[in-house]
Every structure is written in structure tokens, then in C-alpha cells.
Amino acid sequence: MTLESMIQKYPASPEYLVEALRDYQMAKNDHSVTESEIVKIAKYFNVTESKVCSVVSFYSFLSEKPKGRYVIRICRDVPCFVNKSESILKTLETRLGIKPGETTPDGLFTLEYTGCLGQCDHAPAFRINDMTYVDLTPDKVKAILSEYREEKS
């Protein structure tokens, strides 16, 4: 879907800026907006480019930096933490060879932290794009990662 057709679903009013940005990024494989896209979005919503940049830099779901096709957002809030989310993070780091904030060289996975996913009674939990995974163990994580790898190949 082109940028134009995507943002035109929203009225050209600044109040829809955050949502339009989020939707557009979700639809893109690299989950980010480029400089030239920011220029177009600013024009459409009739705001300054710096305003768009300020919004993008504020919210953790928005980014100017290209991300992997699958963004893994691991919850590290207290309920997950007391249920050993640390070992889940370590498994992800070892398996993917990246730290939070980084993307694998093949562009497949990005690892990030997220705020509470509300799955506290089934901690630890993470999200991959729109899917939430709960009751994680290192073994389960390994299986989930291979599933995503297979899907790609």
C-alpha cells in the first residue's frame, strides 16, 4: 500500500497524526518512516516536519530507524521479571546474536523492550509484531524463533 492511499484513510487533521503514523509503520516491512515520507505526511496533515519528527521520536512504537521484519518486544516489567524474564531475554540474545535495540544482519528480527503487555498472570511474555506469546520458557522461545525463521524461508 502506498503512503498516500494509507494516510488518506484519515481526515487531514493533526489529531490523526499519531494513529496514521502507527498504522503506516505496521504495514511496512521495516516498521519505520523515512525522511521523505515524513515530508509528505507533514504536508498532508498540515503540520511542520519538525512536529512529525517530535511525535515519532516520542512514542516507542514509532521509529525513524529501519527495523527487522519481525519486531520482538519483550516485557520486562515486574511480574515478568519475578518470573525470570531475564532468562528469556538471554535466550533471545544468544539465539539472535543481538542486544535490545539491535536488528539481525539478515533484517529478520529486531529486539526491543516494551511496557507491560497486561499478561501478568501468564508471565513472562513478549510480542512479535501483533502476536502475543505468554508463559515463555527458553525452550518455547527457541521453538517460536524457528517457526518465524521457517516462515521466511
Binding site: E19, C116, C120, V134
Partner: protein, 603 residues
Amino acid sequence: MLSRMHILICGGKDCLSSHSKELRDEFHLVLSELNLLDEVRLVMAGCFGLCSQGPIVVMTPGETFYSHVTVADIREICEEHVVKGNIVERLLIKEPIDKAKIKNYSQLKFYDRQRRIALRNCGQINPTDINEYIARDGYLALGKVLSTMSPAEVVAEMKKSGLRGRGGAGFSTGQKWEFAAKSVDDVKYVICNADEGDPGAFMDRSVLEGDPHSVLEAMAICGYGIGSHQGYIYVRAEYPIAVERLNNAIKQARELRLLGKNIFSSGFAFDIELRLGAGAFVCGEETALMASIEGNRGMPRLKPPFPAVKGLWGHPTNVNNVETFANVPAIFLKGADWFKAIGTEKSSGTKVFALGGKIANTGLVEIPMGTTLREVIFDIGGGIPNHRKFKAVQTGGPSGGCITEAALDTPIDFDSLVAMGSMMGSGGMIVMDEDNCMVDVARFYLDFTVDESCGKCTPCREGTRRMLDILNKICAGNGTLEDLDLLESIANMVKDSSLCALGQSAPNPVLSTLTHFRDEYIAHVVDKVCPAGVCSNLTNYTITDKCIGCTKCAKNCPVSAISGTVKQQHVIDLSKCIRCGACKKACPVNAISSKPLPKEENK
């Protein structure tokens, strides 16, 4: 068409992730084979609250409660329970402590002490069908309000009920409505704050997913009371199912003209739009939330002016959270006096708590205000699993504090929790046992606040970071007694001088642990040991001779630090060990000990 039996399958997120959709498909298949689809109705219900027992299936009439149901059990349930009327004993839910099997779910201690007002429909109705909500007196309160009450009477009734905001500070909902009603403006707004971000709290998600119409109805009642015709629900993007169910509910309510123009032919118009967040905790603060709805960075501003005077786009705005709104239709249906009679004098009604951490029954509980923490944790929550000892309970998320054993018999309400150095917050309740290090817990909450601080005011932006530095130093084994004093003074400074509630409450976890668990801090800085065996620089993992050589620890170790042959005692290579504790969790015979390092090794 009437059905002789309903089979309610929990469609809450947690049960969905434990395959409740597959259960439904199997039920459908078996029932159609048995030619029973006309007689028996399958319902994907909202969350039953008892998530640790999921997936859950409830059979009505009889309210038989089956737990941990798998696809393989479905045929037996259909052939025995549905056809012959025999209860499948082996699937009945058990009490966590005495393992007694429970036939009828109201007998379960977990529900017995509860009183469900905000969660009245969760798990009882299909949340995607407005008719089921209407069948349980849904939209009746709105009809009553629009046909028999004046806006001033609505506000007065709300004040009389004594309902206080369930999202944090516990401000009187009726007073909020009154302020907004008194502001003179042609345009006013009603906002539902569904940006539930407190770690450990998920009651708002459950209401939105299990009973979305109750929020819509309450917002319309509020709109009528304060003179507003437009509502917004601000939902966090982390809750995709809630968003989907809300969108569906708004569409259905519009179709039946329960939202829109001329509702109940009263001439009153009210409509609701959804707005989605994009991952910023601070947007739960009402002024930040409004900035986000307007399409800006979600940063809080100074109050006054309060939103009731100058809110969204400069117009008077009333902001309440999801659970608060979920109480409203029940109050107008049964009367303020009914509601006021529940709970304590200054905190009427019930409160939903999300039980988490080291507790047998994790999940949501709704209890009358004034219930003691002991009742919640030990009677309803089933106590601490694995024969561990209770240490503390953390309420109010990153804004709250830790409460110790000594305070367990205090009745819970807004004011008693504040008096104990904690707060109600949104109702997260995280239980800690002797394996949790309180210094580490405080550090953890602070790490969260540092991450989520929006950066606008200096005390919060810089102060929380300095506090985190000190806590990191203590956990690493480099702290001194002077650090504790410095920590306390920065904490008080941040509390007194931050701009919004996020910063003002951020030091609570530190201050409350400093008060109640000072001995643990002192053990870290003076003796250089972590008594709970959590802080890795002050702890070692070893495998004792209890080891049966099952290899589970080695398989679960993320860094392959454990070696050994099958049926032989395994060994941890301490130079590779990252002290994550995965081995200890995986060990079936509790053979892995995490002991503080002997003192000399630290020197």
C-alpha cells in the same frame, strides 16, 4: 432460539493463548456429530478471572466449572455432561490448597469472597454481541437516566454514591463530574482513560475485552450529566483485542441507536471515537493523554487549569478510567444508596485487583473495599506456592510501595494504603516471597520509571536516574551506608518537586523498601551479601548432591554453562554463568541452591 444448555468457553486473552479457539472448534464438531447444535449454545465468554486454571469451560445451568480443558476432553464432556447429565469429575476445578474438587463455581473460595460489580458481565456474556449485554439489563441505566433524571440529578447521584476514581489517586468521581458540569462551554468532552500501563494490572483490559458496552453506556450517562456530546476512548496499542472488541461494540451500539443522535428519543446526542496510543506509559496521566489525542507528544502539563475547566482542545473535559466507568451503570440501576452500603465509609463499592507474582491463584479478583490483604492473598489468592514464606506485597505498580506481613490485617481502601506508604494505583498486587530481593525490586521499578519519564521536568528526569545509579551500585556490591542516606534524600526531593503524578510517585517503591526492609539494604552495603540470593554479584548458583541428573537444567541454561552426564550430578561453570536462575526454575528436585557469596570472595 432458546437453548437448553450454554457452554461458556473463556475467550479472555490468556485462555485464547491456551487454545480456547481450538476447544470451540472441537465442541462444534462433536456437538454437530451428536446432532445437538440446536439445543446447546457455544459462547466465547470474557475472562473468568481465574487465569492460572485456564483454559476454562463453564456449563450452565449448574455452573459446573471445568479447568485445564484440552481438545481431547471435549468428546467426554459432550457425551457425558451434555447427553447424560453426568459431571466429568476429573476435570472439575480444585481448591489450590486442600485440592477439594468443586462442582459449582460459586463454591470456589476464589469467587466466594468476591463481589462482582465492575466485572459483573466478564465471563458471563459474549462480549461481541450487544444483545447479551442488553439481556443482562445493559443500557437500562442509560434509558432510566435519559427518561427520568435531569443532568443535575445525575451528577448528584454520582456524588452521593461515593465512587472514587479507580485509576490512581482515588479522586471523587461525582466531584469531577460536577466540576465539568459547572464549566460553561458549548463543547465538552468525556474521555475514558484506557491507557492501562501499570505493570501487573490488567483489569481494564479484561473489562474492555469482556464487557465493552458497560464502558460505552457509562460514558453516555456521564455525557448527559455534564453536557457533553462527544466521547473518546484512549486505548493503548498493546491491547489489540480490546481495540477490536471496542470498535465492534461502538458499531453495534450505533446500529441500535444507543449511540448517535436522539438516544432513546430523548433528544440527547452522544457519540464515541477510539484513539490509539503508540507506546508511552506517561500518556496514562490525563493531561499527557489529552496531548496525545490532539496528535502531539504525550507530555503532561501543570494543573491547574484542570481538565474540567480547560481540557481537550481547550474545552472542559471529564476523564475517568475504565474500571470507574464500569461501575457507573450498576450505580444508576440500583441506586447510589445500594453502592454506598458496599465497602467502607470513605471508599464505597468494590475494587478489582490483579493478583500476580508468587501467589497460587493468579488472576483478577473484585472485592468489597475494606477486605484485608490477608483475605485477598491467602483466602482468595490461595497463598504462596511451593511452601515459601510471604515477604511483601507490592500494590500500585511503579507508583506504589511494598507492604509487609505486619500490615496484612489492615482493611484495604484508598486511605489505608496511602497511610501504609503505598497506594491503590490501578490495582496491581504483586506478591513477593523470600526468594525476592527487595533492593532488586526497588531497582526494577526505578528502571521502569527512568525509561518512561517523559523528560519534561528535571527532578523526574535527572533524579530518578541518579537514584537508579545508586541502586545499581548497591546491587553490584559497591554501595556504602552514605549511599542509603543520599538515596533517601533524592527520593524525597523527586517526590516533592516533580511536575506530574509519575514523578511524584516514582520514589515510593524505594522509600517503602527503605523503611520496611532497611536490613536488606544494610546487608548489601555492609556485609556485601544479598540475603535472597538474587543480586548476581553477591550470589552464586551451585548444584547440590540432590541432583538426579535429569539434564533439565543444562537444557534450560541460555548460555550452556551447565555440564554433566545423564543420571550424574551436574556442575555449573561459574565463569560462564550469568546467574539468570533458569536452572533453578527448571530443576524438578530443588537441587540448585543460590547462596550469597562467602564474604572473602567479595573482597
